[in-house]
């Protein structure tokens, strides 16, 4: 018999509970997405999550492990949920299904399962979809609330019945397109940029990224429960805002104002929910600052000079690949030692 050793007590936190709380924190922003984009968004969300769960069960079966136990930890559901929030709300069902399956099978289990993956599975899937299906992945709709009946919504999600009349452009896409035609920001932003609407999500964009304030609220909820720290989110926002402030100050006609950067695209979703993913972010406090700043700065760089209007997914994946290096370089100082590892000396 193995000797049982201390501690003989455990904290209340478990993996399942952590995942559940993160999903709870995502709920307000998700409901706002449903409200703004209607039934197709609900269906897309369902398809993404169901596919993720199915893929998880499939992988569990392949590994000869209990599928129900693996699903119970909630990680596959959360991956599906995050992916759904980053998709165009009226995307066809097969986009959601292909993405969710890719996220779980390739993004997670190919690396060895929960805790082993180098890249954020939801973002890996989003980038795969964006590269493979650029048209479907950039088809945005303006918020039209509930005016689409469920049956027509079925047609949108499962039949691809989406007409040009329904589509709209995201702010970042619009600005990029206008800039390529040589139109100055002061002109292209007119009528498009309203911070208030962006705070609550009445704008075109991914399913769950549009209501910045609800996302911040969810993030602060998680920080209050000590599920996440605010290091990565704060650093992420600073990483976007600092270059944006500088560039906008120097050339306001060519560079978006910092607030437009922070409230558009998925910055809030990325800062509070994507970049804070435990598995793919650094474990050390200093490392988390560096990681967040890197994600933010790369996002700004890709948005500003890259070919794609939005850069969160690319920025996060790039920084993911640097995490082992960051962790190694930023180990905390050990008690009674200097940073270089030598013991402190008696005074």
């Amino acid at each position: 018999m193995n000797p049982i050793s201390s501690p003989h007590a455990h904290g209340a936190r478990s993996v399942g509970r952590v995942m559940l709380l993160v999903m709870l924190a995502l709920t307000p922003a998700t409901l706002a997405g449903f409200w703004h984009f209607g039934w197709p968004a609900v269906m897309l969300w369902c398809v993404t999550i169901l596919t993720a769960l199915f893929a998880e069960a499939f992988c569990a079966r392949m590994a000869e492990r209990s599928a129900s136990a693996m699903i119970a930890d909630g990680s596959a559901m959360l991956t599906g949920w995050l992916l759904a929030l980053s998709l165009p709300p009226w995307a066809p069902w097969w986009i959601a299904a292909a993405g969710a399956a890719f996220a779980v099978v390739v993004g997670k289990h190919a690396f060895g399962g929960l805790g082993q993956n180098l890249f954020n599975p939801a973002m890996a899937a989003r980038v795969m979809l964006l590269i493979s299906f650029p048209v479907e992945m950039t088809q945005w709709v303006a918020p039209q609330a509930t005016d689409l009946p469920p049956l027509a919504a079925l047609g949108v999600t499962f039949g691809g019945n989406i007409t040009d009349a329904m589509t709209s452009a995201s702010l970042l896409g619009h600005v990029k397109a206008e800039a390529s035609r040589g139109i100055a920001l002061s002109q292209s932003l007119t009528g498009f940029w309203d911070p208030q609407a962006f705070g609550f999500g009445q704008r075109a964009g991914s399913l769950g990224e549009t209501s910045a304030l609800l996302l911040v609220g969810g993030g602060i909820f998680l920080a209050a429960l000590r599920i996440i720290t605010l290091r990565i989110p704060t650093a992420f926002m600073l990483g976007v805002a600092l270059p944006a402030i500088l560039a906008n100050f120097l050339a306001p006609d060519s560079y978006l104002p910092p607030l437009a950067h922070l409230l558009t695209g998925g910055v809030m979703l990325g800062a509070f929910f994507i970049a804070t993913d435990y598995v793919t972010s650094p474990s050390t406090p200093l490392g988390q600052w560096i990681f967040g700043l890197g994600c933010g700065a790369l996002t700004w760089i890709i948005r500003t000079w890259g070919a794609y209007p939005e850069g969160i997914a690319f920025a996060v994946l790039l920084m993911n690949s640097a995490v082992p290096l960051i962790d190694r370089a930023t180990r905390p100082r050990i008690f009674g030692r200097r940073r270089d590892g030598h013991s402190l000396t008696a005074p």
Partner: protein
């Protein structure tokens, strides 16, 4: 009194030093009950090794009558502690009995049958402030006092350090950060003057200037009682520290109270600090003021399965079963018996084990208190362990390295700095047995070191033997050669002599020829 500047510093530290965990206290109802003396059991079991260092050497024989306080086993070597009879009675003998040990090992113990009279030796009473510091340390040594917080390091060895090094600051550890335990809390509440006097005696013994008694803020009654007892004393200060595990760890408490860190390769004395447990201070008070050796201690009996949790004052050597019985036995199913606190205590399998000098608690935990998953999950790199580690280690990386068998790499990232407090295992959402990995690895490394030393010793012996044999062979050969040479010389001499005898003739023959 607490200085305002100090509390500002403390507030800042509370904000920025986030290590540790907040396990549920579960100190009540035991903490609300007065210390109750436990009646004498039918037999006392007194292990010879109740302290760090060499086991004591027994001085008694079966059948011998002893009085309370009589020396029954003497200290052996520089780091050791003597043992005294906790009550009067007859020595039954010395036997191998189960002792508190992680692997359920047994060890030698003196068995004593109390006669119920509890007759004491005439005490030796002294005024510590008339004694020389070295004399105090000597008396503490002969009273068999060891660290009562569970470390069981012989206290006199520490006090003697004060005569070699300048140690201006004494810290009394009243943190008691382990859940359930309230033996120190009750001691501070009910016997604050003893604790404070003990602090002053230690100060005198080490030539210290001031004493700080650090108490977690979840014990307001203890803090009030100590403050009252220390009200007129300029050199004793009672300081509130936040309730957080492991605040009672020496390194953490010193750092919190003085703002200084013990060097990783040093000792508290290197920064002019000594830490003693409040229970040790009270024991020193009794030893010096009343000549009373350490023969009893306060034990918290608690846990979800104990009918009436309480604090008992118990003779050393009392079997644990007697404590449980006195607390009304158990209700429901005991999932695990623990000696000490739940964070660092020892799981035990038998209640025949005796209370020893370092036992502060006996817990009967039910399944829900263990809160254990059926098996550990995968690491999700949440870094809870990194944030919780009071030493600044990265438990998740260390555990991964150990699991891969790379002990050296785990030492490189700080394995040997780990204090085994178990906070990482406590906070881990996947319940990965992190501290268990580290303790295993430390044991493995110690075994490797021992092995290497053994091999080195063997190698040296073999080399010595080889060179000795070589030398002997050489000497033998030389002696033989010498003897041979001598023999030949003798033979030659004899031949010469023989020749000389006949020589004249021959010579003449030759000359004549």
């Amino acid at each position: 009194m607490t200085m305002p500047a100090f509390s500002a510093r403390s507030t800042l530290r509370r904000l920025f030093q986030r290590w540790g965990a907040h396990p549920e206290g579960r100190k009540h109802p035991a903490a609300d009950t007065e210390i109750t003396p436990l009646p004498l059991p039918a037999q006392l079991i007194l292990p010879l090794a109740q302290h760090i260092g060499a086991p004591a050497r027994p001085l008694v024989q079966a059948g011998q009558q002893v009085l309370r306080g009589e020396l029954i086993a003497e200290a052996q070597g520089a780091i050791s502690a003597p043992l005294h009879a906790p009550t009067s009675g007859r020595i039954l003998g010395i036997a191998e009995v189960p002792v508190p040990h992680a692997s359920g090992l047994s060890g030698p113990a003196i068995l004593l049958e109390p006669d119920g009279l509890d007759e004491a030796l005439p005490p030796e009473i002294a005024d510590p402030f008339m004694l020389e510091p070295a004399d105090i340390a000597r008396r503490v040594a002969s009273a068999g006092i060891v660290g009562m917080g569970g470390a069981t390091f012989p206290s006199a060895v520490k006090l003697a350090l004060g005569q070699k090094t300048r140690i201006p600051t004494l810290i009394l550890n009243g943190g008691e950060c382990e859940p359930y335990l309230s033996c120190d809390d009750r001691l501070m509440r009910e016997r604050a003057p003893e604790v404070v006097d003990g602090a002053r005696i230690i100060l005198r013994a080490i030539g210290g200037e001031r004493a700080m008694i650090g108490v977690e803020d979840n014990k307001p009654e203890a803090i009030a009682a100590l403050r009252e007892a220390a009200a007129d004393l300029a050199d004793v200060e009672v300081v509130t520290v936040p309730s957080r595990y492991p605040m009672g760890s020496e390194k953490q408490l010193i750092s919190w109270l003085t703002g200084r860190e013990i060097p990783a390769e040093g000792r508290p004395a290197d920064i002019g600090v000594m830490v003693q447990n409040v229970g040790t201070a009270a024991a020193i008070h009794r030893a010096i003021r009343f000549g009373e050796p350490l023969t009893r201690r306060i034990v918290t009996v608690s846990g979800g399965a104990i009918r009436t949790p309480r604090n008992l004052e118990v003779r050393i050597g009392t079997p644990l079963s007697a404590l449980v019985e006195f607390c009304g036995g158990t209700t429901g199913t005991v999932a695990r018996w623990v000696m000490g606190g739940p964070m660092m205590g020892l799981a035990i399998r038998s209640l025949d084990i005796p209370v020893i000098k370092g036992s502060g608690g006996l817990l009967a935990l039910v399944e829900s208190e263990l809160a254990a998953l059926p098996e550990p999950g995968p690491c999700i790199r949440c870094a809870s362990c990194v944030g919780a580690c009071p030493i600044g280690l990265m438990p998740l990386d260390m555990a991964a390295l150990i699991r891969n068998g790379d002990l050296k790499a785990s030492v490189d990232i700080g394995l040997k700095d780990c204090i085994s407090c178990g906070t990482c295992s406590f906070v881990c959402p996947s319940q990965i047995p992190l501290v268990q990995y580290f303790n295993h690895a430390k044991g493995e490394l110690a075994a490797q070191d021992r092995n290497r030393m053994k091999q080195d010793a063997i190698k040296q012996l073999v080399e010595a033997r080889e060179s000795r044999m070589e030398r002997e062979a050489r000497e033998k050969a030389e002696a033989a050669a010498r003897r041979k040479a001598e023999r030949e010389r003798a033979k030659a001499a004899a031949a010469q002599a023989a020749a000389a005898k006949s020589a004249p003739a021959t010579n003449t023959e030759e000359t004549t020829a």
